[in-house]
């Protein structure tokens, strides 16, 4: 009677036991007759070694004991689980003295009620309340955070003083472990992609060969199909259709509308839904042009490339493995749009300014701390300031040029707008410390020197002069407006004498405005 054999080996169900009591069973291995299932189990375990090694010494002592039923005496099974607890060395444990021992932390007398525990780490005696924490230790009571460590109770001090402890728990630096895992994963990925490329290459070359062989045959269409499908199966073993109940990528169950397809590169069964695109049929020619670096068979031997009309079905994951990095490489070689090229320059300028500013501030501080009339410091400061101003002027120019570029798409338009926004904010922010300089420096002497020594940037005028002239021009234009109003009201009220004076003044203002405008030239408004 062997019907129950398969189950007997591992099963401990009481039903089997009951059945076994009434019948005689034979051992499936040696044919020996045993009185019950229980005994057969024991026999199999002991004689034929179906159980662990401890079983053998049990047999002699207790015939009825069943190893598989978890009733094994403590010294073997439990012992292996709690190995650390038993083997823990207790040399460092403090011996309790009846009625005298006190908790190392709270100082209460220790007795049976509040507990009497040695901290497994430091060995001091504690009450239950102050030895609650669990940490991993090795046999000799040292910290052990690896998997070999076993959980032990310990006091608060030992709990908080271990390495890496903080208020939120234990922090462990796992960067190196992560790096290792990442590297192996990367290597795996590369291997997979190499393998897939290899398969793709063989597949395509095979298809080309088949096409070449049959290119002059009338029945080519009939013959090529089965040959290709044979080739496909020889490249990679296809997963069994019957086992596949759901798509290997999107995990949707297959059905009438969810047809099964095999990926020709990995052999997995995937769906072909429009929405998930788990797999798709791609013309061979497209695949070849997408991966031009692979060594495909010389296509010229084919009558016409257009004859190569075969498709290859591949799943999305394989496509990603093979083509993602190629697409990236391809995109990298594409020329940047004009706006991005310009932005790169702009960005470089920005970096220069950002790097210069701290130096400028530092120079300003030293000048402020030390004697302000120190020639060298002033010169240095002026030099830095000039440099900054030049760069900012360039930055401004460049950002304006970017804004004026013609955009080809909505996306570029967006980029352009944000560049403009960013640039104006940047200039405003970075110009602020430069504007402050006259206040910081001695306003009468040093300021003059700083501006005088700065390069001639605009129209043979220093920046300070341009600023001054612009200011004057603005004031003059305000005044002109005022005088014009006064003149109007004077004429209206028939105060002609006043009107004459005002008119002459207006002429004078106009003359001054003209003067300033010619002086400023391009730098006017």
């Amino acid at each position: 009677m062997t019907e129950g054999d398969g189950r007997l080996l591992g099963s401990e169900s009481p039903i089997n036991e009951n059945v076994g009591h009434s019948q005689v069973v034979t051992c499936p291995v040696c044919g020996k007759e045993v009185k019950s299932l229980r005994k057969l189990n024991a026999h199999l375990d002991n004689v034929h070694g179906f159980n662990d090694k401890h079983a053998s010494d049990v047999e002699s002592s207790r015939e009825s004991s069943v190893v598989g039923l978890n009733t094994h005496p403590q010294d073997t099974t439990l012992g292996s689980n709690n190995k650390g607890k038993i083997k823990m060395k207790t040399a460092h444990w403090k011996k309790p003295v009846d009625g005298k021992s006190v908790c190392f932390e709270c100082g209460h007398k220790l007795n049976a009620r509040n507990g009497l525990i040695n901290c497994r780490k430091c060995g001091e005696l504690f009450c239950l309340n102050h030895c609650k924490n669990a940490i991993k230790l090795n046999e000799s009571g040292e910290y052990d955070t690896t998997t070999n460590g076993i959980w032990f109770k310990c006091c608060n001090t030992c709990y908080t003083s271990r390495e890496g402890y903080n208020d939120f728990g234990l922090s462990k630096d796992v960067t190196s472990a992560f790096k290792r895992i990442r590297n192996t994963k990367n290597e795996d990925g590369e291997l997979i992609s190499l393998q897939l490329e290899n398969r793709l290459l063989r597949l395509i070359n095979g298809i080309i060969k088949i096409n070449v062989r049959h290119q002059y045959s009338i029945l080519s269409a009939l013959r090529i199909k089965p040959e290709i499908s044979n080739l496909e199966r020889s490249i990679v073993e296809w997963k069994d259709d019957q086992v596949a109940l759901k798509c290997d990528i999107c995990s949707q169950p297959f059905g009438l509308l969810m047809r099964k397809h095999h990926c020709r590169l990995c052999g997995l069964v995937v769906c072909d839904r429009e929405t998930s695109r788990c797999s798709s049929e791609i013309p061979v020619l497209n695949l070849m042009s997408a991966a031009p670096d692979l060594a495909f068979e010389n296509v010229e031997s084919l009558k016409a490339i257009s004859q190569l009309s075969a498709d290859i079905r591949a799943c999305s994951s394989c496509l990603r493995y093979v083509f993602a990095h190629r697409k990236l490489q391809f995109n990298k070689t594409l020329q940047l749009p004009e706006i991005l090229k310009q932005y790169e320059n702009l960005h470089n300028l920005e970096m220069i300014v950002v790097n210069l500013l701290p130096r400028f501030k530092k120079a300003l501080e030293t000048l402020h701390d030390n004697h302000p009339s120190e020639k060298n410091a002033v010169h240095n400061l002026a030099h830095l300031r000039r440099k900054l101003l030049q760069n900012l002027a360039l930055y401004d120019k460049l950002s304006k040029r970017i804004v004026q570029l013609e955009v080809k798409s909505e996306a570029e338009n967006k980029v352009q707008r944000s560049i403009a926004l960013h640039a104006s904010a940047f200039i405003e922010e970075k110009m602020l410390p430069l504007k402050k300089i006259p206040e910081v420096l001695n306003p009468t002497t040093d300021k003059v020197e700083v501006t005088k020594s700065s390069d001639l940037l605009f129209n043979n005028l220093t920046i300070a002069e341009v600023k001054k002239y612009r200011e004057e021009l603005m004031v003059l234009r305000e005044q002109k407006y005022l005088v014009e109003n006064m003149l109007n009201s004077a004429a209206k009220e028939r105060r002609f004498e006043e009107a004459i004076s005002l008119k002459s003044n207006l002429l004078e203002i106009d003359m001054n405005i003209n003067d300033l405008e010619t002086k400023l030239g391009d730098e006017g408004f």
């Binding site: 200011e471 004031v475 003059l476 305000e478 006043e498 004076s501 003044n505 001054n512």
Partner: protein, 207 residues
């Protein structure tokens, strides 16, 4: 009627506009806004009998004291006949600024007939304050004397001395221009030409 151009200079908020308004409109505004650019006002005064009751007209340019408008001032003091350089007697910082203005006037204006009058304003406030926080009157007077300036302390609020300043300037101007005045008076007062000018030229349309 004689016209004279007069300009007011001085640090901001010393009361230049208030003095002018007291003189021109005889009014005072506790919360006057600061002047933008330069304001133009005119006023006529009649001198006393001593000066032939001569009527003078002042065209006054009241400049703004703020630093921003400093560049406007030269345009107005260049052809001026008189300049009032105003400081605030309760604000010691304003006198040095006034001195700077005087120096600038002496340097830039070639006309040696230019009358400069140093005016300390806000005299009414001086009574309330401790003398230590006031401008030293003697210092101002000394400076005025050294530079050959007229000197007055006024209060635009109460009107004290304001008219007097302008009258004194007017008197000096009258004395300076006395000869001219009398010359111009003579022909104007004696004959009136009734002869109509000839229209016998081809340019004119009415024959």
């Amino acid at each position: 009627m004689l016209q004279f151009k007069l300009v007011l200079l001085g640090d901001s908020s010393v009361g230049k506009s208030s003095i002018v308004h007291r003189f021109v409109k005889d009014s005072f505004d506790e919360y006057r806004e600061s002047t933008i650019g330069a304001a133009f006002l005119s006023q006529t005064i009649k001198l006393s009998e001593q000066y032939d009751e001569q009527v003078l007209k002042f065209e006054i340019w009241d400049t703004a004291g703020q630093e921003r408008y400093k560049s406007l001032a030269p345009m107005y003091y260049r052809n001026a006949n008189a300049a009032l350089v105003v400081y605030d007697v309760t604000e010691p910082g304003s006198l040095p600024k006034a001195k700077l203005w005087v120096d600038e006037l002496k340097e830039k204006v070639s006309d040696d007939k230019l009358i400069i009058c140093l005016v300390g304003n806000k005299l009414d406030l001086a009574a309330e304050k401790e003398s230590s926080s006031l401008v030293d009157e003697s210092e101002a007077r000394e400076f005025a004397k050294d530079n050959n300036l007229l000197f007055h302390q006024v209060s635009a609020k109460t009107g004290e001395n304001v008219i007097k300043v302008f009258e004194e300037i007017g008197e000096i101007l009258y004395l300076q221009n006395k000869d001219k005045i009398q010359e111009s008076k003579k022909p104007a007062g004696s004959n009136v030409s009734l002869q109509r000018p000839s229209t016998n030229d081809s340019q004119s349309c009415c024959v």
